[in-house]
Symmetry: C2
Subunit: 88 residues, 2 copies
């Protein structure tokens, strides 16, 4: 089986996001004055292969986020696991 | 009306992604040997306010991606616009 995992990681609401502020400033100066808030984060796409079941893959991705991909102290993350077919 | 826009930006398939390779290497050395491919990109969340309709907001976000948020030469992007309520 193959799984495509899409992970979104962003700073927690309480953490200052200067990159988001800069993007918001850029959008405002281009005339998009109706953009009132911007958060910038990371997007990861993983391709996972093997004989695992979907719930097992979800547990593994949760662990990857905690151990390597995100910084749980300052970041929130969410992900979707989608089966991409292949020989099980 | 308020809209929450979630934008995922990643390098086109044909472009080398050394950051993704590095993350894959990190995951492999942590024992996640079933991760066969990793792509790293950007994730943006915008909060848009005003009297625009959803399709108008979508057109505007498409324009923002083309002009500022993404580099259409080397990056692909996709986004979802979601109504967050508020006084229309």
């Amino acid at each position: 089986m193959q799984f495509v995992v899409r992970i979104e990681i962003k700073l927690k609401e309480s953490i200052l996001d200067p990159q988001g502020q800069a993007v918001r400033g850029g959008l405002t100066s281009l005339g998009y004055k109706n953009v009132v808030d911007v958060h910038v984060g990371k997007y990861l796409e993983l391709l996972i292969e093997g004989s695992k079941e979907q719930d097992e893959v979800e547990r593994q991705v949760e662990e990857m986020c905690q151990r390597l991909l995100a910084n749980p102290v300052i970041e929130d993350y969410s992900f979707q696991v989608e089966s991409a077919g292949g020989i099980g």
